[in-house]
C-alpha cells in the first residue's frame, strides 16, 4: 500500500512536470553570454509581424520577465514580437560576473549585444525599443550613443528615468505636495506623514538610488500602483504556473545589485537625449511617484526628435506602470505609435 502511494505520488510529480504552461512553450528562449553574465532572452508574440519591440526593464535589479505578466504586454504580443530579457545581476540572469566594474557603460554594452543578437537572429527586423523606469534611462543612454537610435524606428519611454539628481528633487516635490493633505486627512497615519516631512528636512538633496526612503514614501502615496486591488484584478498572477511550470525559480528573488548603488545615483543622460532623433512616445502615469510625470516634460524638452515625431502622453488614474494600471490605454497608445512609424 505504501509502495503504491509513493508510486502514485511519483506519477503525479512527473505528470505535473510534463504539463507545460505557456511560459515553457511560447516563443523563442535563448541566452546571451557577455562579460561573465548569462542573460536570458525571451522573444514572444507575433514574430511574423516583422516588428520587434525590445524591452529594457527597470530597477536596477528587476526583471524583464515581469512585463509579460501584465495585460498591456499580453495585448502587444498579439500584434508584434516582444523581446524580454534580464539585465546582469537581475531576475533570471545567471553567472557571477566581476563586481569591481559595475558601470552604466556595462549595462549599455549588454543592451547593445542583445540588440545585435536580435537583429542577427531575426534578419534585421523593424525595431522599436521600450524602456521602463531605470530601463528608460538605460535605453536613452544606449540610443543616444554611437547612432544606435538609427537602428530603430522608434523609442517608447515608459515612466523612464533620465537624470538622477533632478529626479530626486522632482520626486521630493511630488511627495511633499501631497503630505499636507495626508496630514489633514481624517484617520491618516499622522506620525508617518510627519516623518516624511522630517526626513526631507534632514535630507534636502537625497540621492536618486542610494536613498531608499523616498521610494517608500511614493509607494505610500500610491505612486507605484494607482489602485492596487484593481491592478491585481486586471493582471491576475498565475502563481501555480509560475511556481510549477515556468522558467521562474527562487533565484528570481535574489538581486545581485544589493550593495552600493551610488554608481547609478548621479547618472545624467540628458546629453544622450540630445542625440536621439527617432520618433518617440513618452508614456507616463499622471500619478507616478517613482519617476513623476514632470520628468516626462523634461525628457520631451531635451529630446532631439522633431516635434512632429515626439509625443508625451500622460495617463489618468495611472501610476508607475501603465501596462498594469491602464493596459488598454497603454496598448492603444503603443499600437498607434508603432503603426505610424513601423
Amino acid at each position: 500500500m505504501k509502495t503504491h502511494s509513493l508510486l502514485l505520488l511519483l506519477c503525479a510529480l512527473i505528470f505535473g512536470a510534463c504539463n507545460k504552461s505557456e511560459f515553457l512553450t511560447e516563443g523563442d528562449y535563448f541566452h546571451l553570454d557577455h562579460n561573465g553574465a548569462k542573460l536570458p532572452v525571451w522573444v514572444k508574440g507575433n514574430v511574423d509581424s516583422g516588428v520587434f519591440i525590445i524591452t529594457v526593464h527597470g530597477g536596477p535589479g528587476d526583471s524583464g520577465h515581469e512585463f509579460p505578466l501584465s495585460k498591456g504586454f499580453k495585448y502587444l504580443e498579439e500584434d508584434y514580437a516582444v523581446v524580454y530579457w534580464d539585465q546582469r545581476f537581475s531576475g533570471l540572469s545567471q553567472g557571477d560576473p566581476d563586481d569591481s566594474n559595475i558601470t552604466p557603460e556595462l549595462f549599455i554594452e549588454d543592451t547593445e549585444k542583445v540588440v545585435e543578437l536580435i537583429r542577427h537572429r531575426y534578419g534585421d527586423p523593424t525595431l522599436f525599443m521600450l524602456g521602463h523606469s531605470w530601463g528608460g534611462q538605460l535605453s536613452a543612454g544606449y540610443l543616444g550613443r554611437d547612432d544606435h537610435d538609427q537602428l530603430f524606428n522608434g523609442w517608447i519611454d515608459l515612466d523612464g528615468s533620465i537624470y538622477g539628481a533632478l529626479e530626486a528633487q522632482i520626486m521630493k516635490d511630488w511627495i511633499l505636495e501631497q503630505v499636507p493633505g495626508k496630514l489633514n486627512e481624517e484617520g491618516s497615519d499622522k506620525a508617518f506623514w510627519q516623518f516624511v516631512l522630517d526626513w526631507y528636512e534632514a535630507h534636502p538633496a537625497p540621492d536618486n538610488y542610494t536613498d531608499q526612503e523616498p521610494y517608500f514614501f511614493a509607494d505610500a502615496l500610491d505612486g507605484y500602483a494607482y489602485d492596487w486591488e484593481r491592478t491585481q484584478e486586471l493582471n491576475p498572477v498565475p502563481y501555480h504556473e509560475l511556481i510549477f511550470s515556468s522558467m521562474f525559480s527562487l533565484a528570481y528573488y535574489v538581486s545581485g545589485l544589493t550593495t552600493d548603488q551610488s554608481w547609478a545615483d548621479d547618472l545624467n543622460f540628458t546629453p544622450e537625449l540630445a542625440q536621439i532623433t527617432i520618433p518617440s512616445l513618452l508614456l507616463w502615469g499622471k500619478n507616478d511617484g517613482a519617476v513623476p510625470a514632470a520628468v516626462g516634460d523634461y525628457v520631451y524638452e531635451h529630446l532631439a526628435t522633431p516635434i512632429a515625431d515626439k509625443r508625451l502622453v500622460k495617463i489618468d488614474e495611472c501610476s508607475h506602470a501603465p501596462h498594469y494600471d491602464q493596459p488598454e490605454i497603454f496598448y492603444q497608445q503603443v499600437v498607434e505609435f508603432v503603426e505610424q512609424y513601423q
Partner: protein
Amino acid sequence: MKYAYMTALLFSCLLTHLSAQSNLKAGVAYFGHTLTHPGGVLELELEREFSERASLPFRIDLGYYRHARNHDGLFLDAHIGLRQYARSGFFWEESIGIGILQTMLNGEDGVFEVGEDGTVRRGSVFNQPDLMPSVTLGLGWDLTHRQDRKTLLWLRPKLYWQYPQKLVSVYHVAVQAGFSWQLR
C-alpha cells in the same frame, strides 16, 4: 558561509571513519527542482547504526535535473546527519551537505555570444561550477524492518544554495522521492 560548510565537509569525513555497526546502501530517486522540474538522483550511503533507533548516515548524492528555460544542474554532494527509527519502521532524518553544482543554461534555442565587431557565434551552455551547501529533512519507511537487509522508501525536501551567483548566492528548493536498498 563557504568556510562553515567546508568545516562541515571535514567534519563529515572525520565521522565516517568511526567504527560502529554499519550498512552500505545504494539508492535512486526522483529529484524535482521546485518540485516539478524533473531529475534523478543516485545515492550511496554508509549508515552507522548506534542503536536500533538511531544512526548516522553519511551519503553521497549524484544528481541531475532539468529546469526548462532556466538551467540544468549536475551535482555531487556529501551529507551527514541523524536518522531515527520508530518501532513501526517509520523514520525521520536531517542532514547538512556540501558539494559542487555544475549548472548549464537551458534555453531551447541555445546560447550566443556577440563579438566586438557584432559577429554572433554560439556560446557555451556551461556556467562556472558553484559550491552547493544544503539542508535536507526526510521522512521514510524501512519496508524490511527488523530483517537483515534494509529497503528504505523516503521523501526528502532539500534546500540548497548556489554560491557564488549574481555576486551573492541564490537558493533553490527540491523534493526527492525514492528508495534505497542495502548492499551489505
